[in-house]
Amino acid sequence: MNALGTLLLFPGGLALLLVALLAEWISRKLLARLQNRVGPRWFQPLADTVKLLAKEEVIPEGVHRVLFEFLPVLSLAAVLTAALAVPLFGVVPATSYAGDLIVTVYLLSLLTLCTSLAGLITDDRYAAMGGLRVLSQLFSYEAPFLLALLGPAVAAESWQITRITAHAGSNVWMLFTQPVGFVVAVIGLMGKLELSPFDAPEAHTEIVAGSLTEYSGRGLALFRLSRNVALVVGLTLVAALYLGGVSDPLAFAVKTLALLLVITTVQALFARLRIDQTIGLWWHYGVLLALGQWFLILIGKGAA
């Protein structure tokens, strides 16, 4: 019964979904305020989701029907599973095992793969283009993002999220000891979530709605939900690893929120990069910076 509550109500399941919607609202509202607008009302993401769920789902001609219906479910399931190993809301994660950091990062990547495949299985050329861009972007940010998350893992000498957060909680914030890794992790998270300036995969002015062009109703609602959940999980992960672990839930919530504000501000500041610029940025700077940081940590570890 207790395990069921953990899965369905708190901290996974319902609470996570609600917080994910709240995170979307905070992000949209802040973006609107930065653009001198009033912005959406607080229940806007909920209304959007319910409306999409109540809408007709068109299954276009020429798609693989089973995959078309299964991919949104799989992506939501993947991010909800990823949430089990991270310290959501600062509470102890539901599961913890050796190597769960890697599993979490790759479960988050499953969302990206599903998004890409959702574009590639349709006949629509915009969706196909979007799907290809999603994949190109995945191959560019994934390596630096993982390297940036490995920094704390190497410092804590463990692949287990709870051990890393315990190490992060008892030492100086890794934001200060590994600033480069923090920057790469935050920007990598933005790339993962396809937020501006890395939103070339769904550039509305070029390729309609990217890989989700053919999705309507339920599928779109599930994809949007999974992206919001991935946002919360990613923020939790980066905040727990880099901003001094999970001491008390309130301080952790403030840290996560601060990280969300940083991401939204960066979103408002920069215009969209072309897909080749995105890839160039990651492989020219992101990987090198993350690798350099990693070597420094290894040398520091060896010297100590």
């Binding site: 653009q35 001198n36 607008r37 009033v38 209304a47 959007d48 409306k51 109540a54 068109v58 309507s216």
Partner: protein
Amino acid sequence: MTAMKIEQAWNNALAGVALWARTNSPWVLHFNTGSCNGCDIELLAALTPRYDAERLGVKLQASPRQADILICTGPVTRQARDRLLRIYEQMPEPRFVIALGSCALSCGVFHDCYNVVGPLDRFIPVDVYVPGCPPRPEAIIYGVIELLKKLHPVDVILEGGSA
């Protein structure tokens, strides 16, 4: 007997929730059927910071599959007719149409042009007409709100939610 009543109440509740969501999250798709761009500029102005339609939940979508309201500007030209019908067919139910500007209503100054095949409502059902050449952004937002009011049995939309 009671089981039926409970089922009916449940269905009513579901319909109420769906209606609430629908009236609070109108995503629009903009299609230019042959307009001179005057209405299009006004429509974009309605989405810019000064008027900010997002406070009513209005979002401009790029894909017909993801839109609820099709906003058409201009008279329907021979070239645009097939595309218009196709875009309308691509939208999922429930879908609504707003005709924007004098030309979409009656072809306006393009009346009897060789390449104009008629006003918008000759080809697809129109829910709300917004007159003007071009209509001001306030008029466009008013048109959207009139459309949302039509969905509701009673005039209570946007209540408690006005930003």
